[in-house]
């Protein structure tokens, strides 16, 4: 199957070298790029120098003194860590056919950057420097509080002590930091993000894939925010075990719609948010009582089941047995007759993902397949698994994107609903015991799980 969304990755190698002081969102951006590219089926990997330092260079939780540039011993260890990271990266390019590597480190001096540049060029790669420069104190402080709670360097350390040490570490870097210079570095490929994306300087981008990465990064922001996801309330077709259609909500679905404002309020507090729905009736009905600004997106409409729209799985199995089987064999690529595949949905969702990255607090009320794709993007779920995730009705999911992963919380409405989940190899809907088979519950088997079930 050809890679649909991006071109010619054969013979293309992109090395993104991050630049910037600590707490400027570098790791966050690196992780995001990897996720986005993987979602588009491009081989991408992040090489975090801090991890090499912790795991292989024997500096697991050093204090700020370690980052003093006068500390010869420590500098050696750090140099060793970056060398290992770069060597691994080149090996990954050469042996594993890697396409996009991200070297996540401060790379704050021009001497260090020249050294990396030389290594890359000797391997016939022109690296792209990506600098996050920021003097917005609010933003920096927020990032610091995030790092001190999530960075492995400060695990188990008193937050106040961690903050103090981290500030000290930043000041060590500040004393040697040389930002990229539009004049001096004019012959290099670089991107500077000034205060996230208030100003973006793009210099000498020479490949399509690089431009695609820059495009994506331009849509990112590092302000903390949350995204809530919900399927529409139980619909009449859900009750009738039919797929697709444009049906109204069932009484229980309407009950969910009535309860939704309270659920959202409980999770979001007083923050303002925007509700996105699809253009189908059932999502609009689900959102009807929410006291927020609402937008409709055609791109959020359910996967189009083509000729099977409005059928039950049993009917599909009977009328189109081959299709039924073909879909089970490769659900991601299978395209309904006259309809869409999961890959098609991913392609049409790309603008939504970009816009979602640009926005702050968003509640999306949409459909099972679309939610699976959006969830897969945030949680880095591989495409063999994402179409099989179970996302139950009448459940609000909260995602909090963080530098080192996304936090998930689910809030159950405790309003009964049918299950619309269909396991592989059967036409019956409903979840069997989790340990019995193929069922993948989004909240029990997805990576980066952080379940805090609400009980009311």
């Amino acid at each position: 199957m050809p890679v649909y969304t991006v071109s010619n990755v054969q013979n293309i190698r992109v090395c993104v070298v991050m630049v910037g002081l600590p707490a400027r969102g570098k790791s966050f951006i690196s992780q995001k790029i990897v996720r986005y590219l993987s979602w588009l089926s491009i081989q991408a990997k992040c090489f975090n120098v801090g991890n090499y330092r912790r795991q292989h260079a024997g500096a697991e939780q050093p204090n700020a003194d370690f980052f003093d540039f006068g500390n010869k011993e420590a500098y050696k260890i750090r140099q060793h860590a970056v060398t290992m990271a770069v060597e691994d990266m080149m090996r990954w390019f050469n042996e594993k056919g890697g396409v996009v590597a991200i070297l996540d480190a401060t790379n704050s001096t021009s001497e260090r950057r020249e050294w990396i540049l030389k290594l890359c060029r000797e391997n016939a790669i022109e690296p792209m420097f990506l600098e996050s420069w920021c003097d917005d104190q609010d933003l920096i402080l927020r990032n610091i509080s995030e790092v001190k709670t999530t960075s492995p360097d400060y695990q188990g350390i008193d937050p106040d002590v961690a903050t103090k040490d981290f500030l000290e570490r930043i000041s060590k870097y500040e004393s040697v930091y040389e930002p990229l210079d539009e004049e001096v570095d004019k012959d290099k490929t670089f991107v500077r993000l000034i205060n996230v994306a208030q100003q973006v300087i793009i210099n000498r981008i020479e490949t399509y894939l690089e431009s695609r990465i820059v495009f994506y990064v331009m849509n990112l922001h590092i302000r903390p925010r949350s995204i809530w996801l919900s399927r529409h309330g139980e619909s009449i077709y859900n009750v009738e075990k039919k797929i697709g259609g444009d049906s109204h909500l069932s009484p229980r679905g309407l009950q969910y719609a009535s309860k939704l404002p309270e659920l959202v309020k409980r999770s979001a507090g007083d923050v303002d948010l925007t509700v996105w729905t699809s253009t189908l009736v059932r999502t609009g009905e689900t959102a009807q009582h929410l006291p927020y600004k609402q937008l409709q997106w055609k791109a959020l409409d359910e996967l189009d089941a083509g000729v099977c729209d409005g059928m039950t799985y049993e009917e599909i199995e009977e009328i189109y047995p081959e299709d039924f089987k073909a879909r089970d064999d490769n659900k991601y690529e299978y395209r309904y007759r006259g309809g869409e595949s999961y890959r098609d949905v991913v392609i049409r969702l790309e603008p939504i993902i970009m816009e979602l990255e640009r926005q702050e607090n968003i509640l999306i009320i949409t459909h099972q397949a679309v939610l699976r794709c959006i969830y897969a993007y945030f949680m880095n779920v591989p495409q063999e698994e994402s179409p099989w995730m179970s996302i139950p009705l009448h459940t609000l999911i909260k995602l909090e994107p963080r530098a080192y992963g996304t936090n998930v919380t689910r809030i159950k409405a405790n309003i009964p609903a049918v299950s619309t989940y269909k396991e592989k190899g059967t036409s019956q809907v409903g979840e069997s015991d989790l340990n019995s088979g193929n069922s993948r519950s989004v909240l029990t088997s997805a990576p980066e799980l952080n379940e805090q079930q609400e009980s009311t």
């Binding site: 060029r121 300087i201 399509y208 189908l280 049409r348």
Partner: protein
Amino acid sequence: MSAIVSDDDELINGLGSEVVITKPVPGNHMARTRKRWSSGSTEKRPKVINKLIDGVHTDVAKDYISPGQLYSTESGRLFHAGKILIVLVGLPATSKTLLSVAITRYTRWLGVRTRSFHVSEYRREKIRAEKGEVPDDYFSAKPTSKEGIQYRKEILSKMIQDMTEFFDEKKGQLAVYDALNILKDDRSSIEQAFGKLHIKVLFIESVVTDPVLQKRNVDLAIKSEDYKGWVLKRAEEDYMERLQANKYLYQEMSPEEKLSYVKYINFGEKLTVNNNNYGYLINKIVFFLMNLRDKRGCVYFARCGTSVKDKYIDDEELNGEGLEYSRILTDLVLDLVNRRRLNANDDGADVPRTPSLVSLNERSKSPLIATSASLKRTESTGNAMYRQPASGDGVDDDSFVVWTAPRKRTYDTAKYFADLGITVRQRNQLQQLHPGVVADMTDEEIREKFPSEYEEYLRDPYHFRFSRAESYHDLAVRMEPLLLEMERMCGDILIIGHESTLRVLYGYLMAFSCSEIPRLTFTRDELIEISFGPFENKVNRIPIVMD
């Protein structure tokens, strides 16, 4: 529990009643009524398509649906991006017209209702209508004579009026305003005027500091319609005067103006984006600008050679005739490219490229005339002293690449190129439209076997998918990266592909709507050459003569 919301249900069951589902109703009684595309079937289709005209300047119909559009909306606007005015800023000879046309072409293809408004066109129109002369100082951003001021004012206010009308009455989403706009005052008054109408304004300032690039732009300008019949030298003097007068007035954009703007330096070598919070669409345009290149070369389209059965199902090799076709095609294309390069080198207008001793040596091996760019490439690879050549194709302005689909007969059609050492790439995205169940069937057979599908297909051949098949829309969406890579190519490129993929690429370059694309024809006896102009692209159809 709240009441059922549908009026119809209340009419049937009594006011305030609730519908309680007691048992499932058979059949698809609440089917999706809206398609992903509201059908473009009302669009009148011309019987014969004049394929030689670039459609980028024609108005789009009310129900226009464009090739790359992901879905259609009632308002005609996409991405919740609102209405946007893009204002070009820059001295003469900074490619403003090229930029506005390219943005129009691309955003239209994406499904945005875009129109560009060129001050030069309005001026020409006014001259035609009034049969008058343009006042001497009209070309200054700040004319001093009474006539000059009046003339300028008339043209600009007509443009503003037309743009406003485009937004208000023609469902316009994006207007591109192509004029000098080099004065701060001009910019702030545009911002205010359109801001009042809730139209977002983004400025794109094109700055050229590279003398080579500037010279090229001047050369293009003095060969334009404005200087028809002029002696070149005199035209150049006149144009330079125009440029100098404005240079003196030019106020370059800076953050102090507090406007949203993109500074576009030396045709994309560097871009800075300032205060952009207009959303996806603008970022997408910046993305496009990152890929736009100053093209010296042409795009060639050719079909593949014939094979014995010529069926979709078999992945056959070329037959004797097919091989002969390939040979003739190779000679023809190389000859065209070389002739153009020789002309460019003779012409003082282009960058002088003196072939060094090495390049003469190189030349004897390669069928193409080598220039300095390709030599630099071999020299720098793996050498830490130099920038590494970008890993994509077509980075140098003298590059020549052949793209083929991954099928044997298309790939084989390029074999003589490969033998001569020319880069030939199999591109997955060029895989022809998947015909699904109707593979290798004639229209008659399809009509017979799938009568209802065939009818639907005739109604909307662009979006309709036969069972298991791809629609043209699917094809266009999967080919979008190729379009951008094609924009990125500085040199020449030959694309050998199936008719379906050529239709999509040609449709983009010549701005065809989706009702026209499925009916374009490409035959084996013609090579298509598309050359790029700032205002429009031009097609040349060259016969492929088999001996």
